[in-house]
C-alpha cells in the first residue's frame, strides 16, 4: 500500500499561497529593536494620552522579568525580540476621512484580497475595519452605526475619542501580567479594532476587521476590544493574510470581549497568515491571547475559528463565565499541513451558577504537520449545576503528520456535568475512490471530505465567511495526503 500512498502524494502539485504578494508602498517605520525609547516612540506617533504610555511602560518592565513559555507542543528557533520592527505605518500619516484620501496602492491591496472598502459593501451588510501593518487604514460604515450609538473604529481612534471606555475596560479581561506574549502586546500594541454596543442595541450588520502584515521584519501587535452593554448583540468577524517571505514574522495579538447582562457576542476568525513554504521556511508565528468575560447574568460569548495559516499557531480563545446562566462556546477548525504546527484550544472557566459551555474542535493534519488540541474546563465550587460538553476530533491525511489532544478537566462541585468525546480518523482510500468514480478528482474529493468533516464548525460562521472558509480549507490542504 506504500506505493499507493506515494502515488497519491505525488498526484498533487503544491498550491502556492494566494495572498503572498507584497504591496510596494512607502512605509513609516520605527527603528529595529525594543526598549523604552521605542515604546515612547510608538506612543508619541500615536499621540496617546499619558495613561496609555504608563500602561505600556508598566507592561514592558514586567515583560523583562518574564520567560518565554515552553509548555506548548510546538518547536521553533528562539525569537530575537531585538530583531523586530515594532511599528510600521503605510505612508500617509493622517487618518483618512474618505476613500479619496487613502493611498490607491493600499485600496488596490485590499481589493486583491477581496475586501472592498467602498461603502457599497453596505449591500452585503458588512462593516469593515482594515488594518495594514500597525495602522488602521479605513473603517467603513462607522457613521451609519454611530446613529445607533454603536462605536466601531480603530483602536487608535477609540483612544482619542473614547479614552474613558478604554481606561475602564482595557486590560480587564487579559491583564498586562497575563502571559509573555500578551504582556509584550500590552507594551507595543499598535492598532486594532474597537467596538462598543450600547444597552439594548442589536448591531444590524456583521462587523469585520481585516488584518494584513505587509512590511518586512515587522511584528504585528494588534489589540481588539469589544464591549457589549446590557442586552446588546454583535457578530464580529476577523480575517488575516500576510505576504510570502522566507523569514518568520511575529504576530502577537490580544482580543478582549466584555459581555454584560443578557448580552451576546459572536466572534469569528478566519486566520490565513502566510504558513511558510512546503519545506517549512518562513511563515507567521501566531501567538494570540483571546479571552471574553460573560460578566452579567445570561450573557453569551461564542468563538468560532478557522485556522488554516501561520507556521505556528498558539491560541486559546477562552470564556470566563462569571454571570449566572452564562454560556460560552468554542468552535474550531485548525489545519496543520506541510510543516505547520498548531497548539490551539480553549479555556472555559465556570464561575457562575448554571453556566454552560460547548467545545467543538476539529483538527486536520497533513504533510508533516502537527496539530494539538489543548483545552481546560474548570468548574469552580460555586458554579453549581454547570455543564460542559466537549468534542475533539482529529482527521489525519497522511502518515507523517501528528494529532494530539490535551484536555484538562477540573470540577470542584458535585452538581455539574462534564462530557468529553474524542475521535481520530483518516480519509480512507475507499472514500477517495468512491468520489473519483463519480468523476470528482482527488483534490476536489479531499476538499469535499474535509469540508464535510468540518461542517459542524463551518455552519457557525456568518454566511459571508463560510464560503471563503470552505475554499480556504480545500486550498490549504492541497498536497497534504501522503
Amino acid at each position: 500500500m506504500e506505493s499507493e500512498s506515494n502515488k497519491i502524494l505525488n498526484a498533487f502539485t503544491q498550491s502556492e499561497y494566494k495572498y503572498g504578494f507584497i504591496t510596494d508602498i512607502e512605509t513609516d517605520m520605527a527603528p529595529e529593536g525594543l526598549n523604552e525609547d521605542i515604546i515612547r516612540f510608538i506612543s508619541e506617533k500615536k499621540q496617546e494620552p499619558a495613561f496609555l504610555l504608563e500602561f505600556r511602560l508598566k507592561s514592558y518592565r514586567y515583560w523583562l522579568t518574564m520567560k518565554e513559555p515552553k509548555w506548548a507542543n510546538i518547536h521553533y528557533p528562539k525569537i530575537d525580540f531585538q530583531d523586530i520592527i515594532y511599528y510600521a505605518a503605510p505612508g500617509k500619516k493622517k487618518i483618512p476621512g474618505s476613500l479619496d484620501e487613502v493611498d490607491p496602492e493600499l485600496l488596490d491591496t485590499f481589493n486583491k484580497l477581496g475586501i472592498s472598502l467602498n461603502e457599497q459593501k453596505k449591500l452585503t451588510g458588512v462593516a469593515v475595519d482594515a488594518v495594514m501593518d500597525s495602522v488602521s487604514v479605513k473603517t467603513t460604515f462607522s457613521e451609519t452605526l454611530l446613529k445607533l450609538g454603536i462605536i466601531f473604529c480603530s483602536f487608535s481612534e477609540a483612544v482619542k475619542n473614547h479614552p474613558d471606555l478604554i481606561k475602564q475596560y482595557m486590560g480587564t479581561v487579559v491583564p498586562y501580567t497575563d502571559n509573555y506574549f500578551a504582556t509584550l502586546n500590552s507594551a507595543v500594541f499598535t492598532d486594532g479594532s474597537f467596538c462598543y454596543i450600547p444597552k439594548g442595541v442589536r448591531c444590524p450588520v456583521e462587523l469585520s476587521t481585516y488584518f494584513r502584515i505587509n512590511a518586512a521584519n515587522t511584528g504585528q501587535f494588534e489589540r481588539t476590544l469589544i464591549i457589549a452593554e446590557e442586552g446588546a448583540y454583535v457578530s464580529y468577524m476577523e480575517g488575516c493574510t500576510a505576504p510570502q517571505r522566507d523569514t518568520n514574522q511575529l504576530h502577537a495579538a490580544i482580543v478582549e470581549i466584555i459581555a454584560l447582562k443578557d448580552a451576546e457576542v459572536k466572534y469569528a476568525t478566519v486566520q490565513n497568515w502566510y504558513p511558510g513554504n512546503k519545506k517549512g521556511e518562513g511563515g507567521i508565528y501566531n501567538f494570540v491571547t483571546k479571552r471574553g468575560i460573560c460578566k452579567g447574568n445570561n450573557s453569551r460569548i461564542s468563538w468560532t475559528q478557522v485556522e488554516t495559516g501561520s507556521a505556528i499557531t498558539w491560541k486559546y480563545p477562552s470564556c470566563i463565565l462569571l454571570g449566572d446562566n452564562s454560556v460560552g462556546e468554542f468552535y474550531s477548525v485548525a489545519v496543520a499541513n506541510n510543516f505547520q504546527q498548531a497548539d490551539t484550544g480553549t479555556k472555559m472557566q465556570h464561575l457562575g451558577k448554571n453556566t454552560r459551555s460547548t467545545i467543538i474542535s476539529k483538527g486536520i493534519s497533513g504533510g508533516n504537520g502537527n496539530n494539538s488540541y489543548r483545552g481546560l474546563v474548570r468548574i469552580a465550587k460555586n458554579a453549581v449545576n454547570s455543564r460542559n460538553y466537549s468534542q475533539c476530533d482529529s482527521l489525519l491525511l497522511g502518515n507523517k503528520c501528528g494529532a494530539h489532544t490535551f484536555p484538562y478537566i477540573q470540577v470542584e462541585n458535585k452538581s455539574s456535568i462534564v462530557e468529553h468525546e474524542a475521535t481520530t480518523s483518516k480519509i480512507s482510500e475507499d472514500q477517495l475512490f468512491y468520489c473519483q468514480q463519480r468523476g470528482i478528482d482527488m483534490e476536489s474529493a479531499i476538499g469535499l471530505i474535509v469540508n464535510g468533516y468540518a461542517k459542524e464548525v463551518l455552519n457557525k460562521l456568518p454566511m459571508e465567511f463560510a464560503m471563503e472558509a470552505q475554499k480556504l480549507l480545500s486550498v490549504s490542504l492541497e498536497g497534504s495526503v501522503g
Partner: protein, 248 residues
C-alpha cells in the same frame, strides 16, 4: 463496440484473481455476470472502474475503442463509466445533494458544458427521486451515513440515474435487498436502458434477472468466464447450482 476485454489477467498482492477474461459489450446490451463468491466478479468491476489496488498483469481493455487501462479513475467516470458499489462508503458531513452536484458538474465541465443551475439541478433530483422511490429528505443526509442496506443500494441507483452513464456496472446491487427494494432497483435500470448505453450486472442470484431481462449471461468461475449464453442460462444455473459448473 463499447467495451472489449481480451485475455485480462489481474492480481492483488501477487495473487492472481482474474485469469484471462474475454468479454464484449455492445451499445444497447445488458450483460449479467454470475458466479459463486470469490471467483473475481467484483475484481472485474473494480478493474474496469480503475481501482489500482489490483494490478493488471496481462491482456487489454478497450472502451469506446481506446485503451482504458491507462486512463485515470475520474476520467473513466467522466467518459461515462459508472460503478454501483457493493459496499458504498460513508462520507460524513457531505450531503448527497452536494456530492451529486459536484459530481454532475465535473461531468458537465468535461463535456464542455456550464455548471447546472441550482434550480435545474433540484428539478432533476426530484424527477430521479421519484424513479427510485427514495424519501425526499434522504438527499439532505450525509452520503450513506447511517443508511440501511436498502437505502445505500437505492442511493447507488439514484446516483446512476442522476449521472446517466454510458456503461453502468452494478456490483451485487441486489444482495441483501428485500423484494420491494429489488423491484425498485430493477425499475431504475429498466427505465435507463437505451440503445446508446449498456449495463454489466453482477449478481450472485438469478432473482434480479427476473426483473431485469439480460441479453447475455456469463458465468465467471475461478477467474475465467466458463460459460456464456442467453437469459435461459441464468435459470439453468439457478436450478442446477454452481457445482454443476465444476463438472463442465
Amino acid at each position: 463496440m463499447l467495451l472489449s476485454i481480451k485475455n485480462l489477467h489481474a492480481s492483488i498482492n501477487g495473487k492472481e484473481i482474474l485469469k484471462g477474461i474475454d468479454l464484449e459489450v455492445n451499445y444497447g446490451e445488458v450483460h449479467a455476470i454470475m458466479g459463486p463468491n470469490g471467483t473475481g466478479k467484483s475484481t472485474l468491476a473494480a478493474v474496469i472502474a480503475g481501482r489500482d489496488l489490483f494490478e493488471v498483469t496481462e491482456g487489454e481493455v478497450k472502451y469506446k475503442d481506446k485503451d482504458l487501462l491507462k486512463v485515470p479513475v475520474e476520467e473513466r467516470a467522466r467518459e461515462g463509466i459508472f460503478l454501483g458499489f457493493q459496499y458504498p462508503v460513508e462520507i460524513p458531513g457531505v450531503s448527497i445533494t452536494n456530492f451529486l452536484r459536484t459530481a454532475l458538474n465535473e461531468l458537465r465541465k468535461y463535456r464542455g458544458l456550464d455548471p447546472m443551475s441550482a434550480v435545474e439541478f433540484l428539478k432533476l433530483m426530484e424527477e430521479k427521486k421519484k424513479l427510485v422511490e427514495i424519501q425526499s429528505n434522504l438527499t439532505n443526509r450525509s452520503v450513506n451515513e447511517g443508511f440501511s442496506g436498502g437505502e445505500k443500494k437505492k442511493n447507488e441507483i439514484f446516483q446512476m440515474a442522476m449521472l446517466d452513464p454510458v456503461l453502468a456496472i452494478l456490483d451485487e446491487t441486489d444482495s441483501g435487498l428485500d423484494i420491494d427494494a429489488l423491484r425498485i432497483v430493477a425499475k431504475g435500470v429498466n427505465h435507463l436502458r437505451r440503445k446508446d448505453n449498456a449495463f454489466l450486472i453482477i449478481t450472485h442470484y438469478q432473482r434480479l434477472l427476473e426483473y431485469i431481462i439480460p441479453d447475455y449471461v456469463h458465468v465467471l468461475f475461478e477467474g475465467k468466464i466458463v460459460k456464456s449464453g442467453g437469459k435461459e442460462l441464468a435459470i439453468e444455473l439457478e436450478e442446477k447450482g454452481y457445482d454443476w459448473l465444476k463438472n463442465t
